[in-house]
Subunit: 259 residues, 2 copies
Amino acid sequence: MGTVTKALSLLGLFTQIRPEIGLSDLTRLSGMNKATTHRLLRELQAQGFVEQVGPERAYRLGPEVLRLAALREATVPILSVSREVLDRLSAATGETAHISLVQGAKLNALSHAYSPRYATRVMMDDTEVLSFHATGSGLAVLAWAEPDFVNAVLAERLHAFTPDTETSAQAIRARLDDIRRDGMAESIGGYEADVHSHAAPVFGPDQRPIGALAVAAPVSRMTETLKQTIRAELAAGARDMTQRIGGLYPPSFPAARAA
Amino acid sequence: MGTVTKALSLLGLFTQIRPEIGLSDLTRLSGMNKATTHRLLRELQAQGFVEQVGPERAYRLGPEVLRLAALREATVPILSVSREVLDRLSAATGETAHISLVQGAKLNALSHAYSPRYATRVMMDDTEVLSFHATGSGLAVLAWAEPDFVNAVLAERLHAFTPDTETSAQAIRARLDDIRRDGMAESIGGYEADVHSHAAPVFGPDQRPIGALAVAAPVSRMTETLKQTIRAELAAGARDMTQRIGGLYPPSFPAARAA
DNA sequence: AACCAATGGTTCAAATAATGAACCAACGCA
DNA sequence: TGCGTTGGTTCATTATTTGAACCATTGGTT
């Protein structure tokens, strides 16, 4: 494994639940030698990617991460636009809204918004790598992804996260056909039991999906009325995001015709 | 130079003016061998820190930068709070508002907001490393920085950016005393001719400045009325930022008594 | 008070990864 | 057609990284 990859993988260990981690814990989590961990952290710290805080001198993500994100936001304002859209979506539906972005062969959660409407809600972990075949977001991306990409995903062993997870590549392809006709993906208990989620793709300038916007609700709260509300708000939110980041819908997308 | 440092320095080459850079240009800018540049970019790309876009396959900052920034924002919401405060500050004053953060021995511009009130405005470049001794922001930070830090800054050769730049360490120390009494730094043409700026420090939980919030206006527009408006709005904005990111004012800070 | 187990941190001989000169294919231009 | 640029690749040589062993400090336990 390359040295740069090792160093950057340390950054990936920070989570919302665990924003500050000590040297020994980072060593444990990473499986590296403590001297190696320390030396890599020194280089990351010198460049501003991590900083040490508190009397225990734990590490956390540093200001350079913010500066680079602000730079990228200046041209592709995904963070700020998604913040707004997520807040609006969770307020309008009363359920958890979240967004994920494609990163190479992975789908990474970026951000989420909770609604205070109910005492229970579908919880999100923003460090989570989402499954393509088992989540609404993943299916929404696959439906408009390059065929090679879809083939690569479906060639992998498809894990059954719950008894309801579809693991047949053929059956998944059929579902992707349905999603393409509808413009939206739906998943009931595919990744987590008792969670009913809807997702719509968000497109980039090249008409390819850069990620997906989704709403997740407990199955027990999913009435026909709520479903229609979610579908309408989600379609509007994903369209809004796509447009505001300079994305373009592929001609085959049904909701683009609806717009 | 460490390999990690080399790789991360490539990320630092991206700017708002130049968000997309090709392999050969990155090679030129970095002074590295093209094979080395390419290999480092491959590792950065695999981890999501850069991505390639367009038919020329130029590089730009990638989604992992956003994801990590979102993670950090979840605990220390500097980006989102500063966005709000900057927008409010530029709207209220009609001038350019900007924020910078301390990163080791540097003061890096993070973000800015322009006002559309006038046809002319003070322009900002968010990749800029600000001078401590020659800018309002720098002076605002120095006034409440650790003595060792101040000594280190003033021990360096102090560059005269304009004929009005103060370069005497002794005179600067006297100004820092004034700033500590007043709670705000003011710089007239210290860094750029014809620019009158005010800056207030933003504090972290350890009562140390993490950066500064500033308003920059052309000298010709600085009436006594505008000055009072800027001072009031800036004090309120910096206080708001400090409080919302969980910061604490040092007991010696005058405006903290005013709050 | 003594002991223990954990922490953050450091050293340097040995091991491993990174380097970069030279090369390739493709493209746009004169 | 030839030239100069681009993005990209190879592998013998060179430079950096590694990690076992070590240190000082701290907090908890007996």
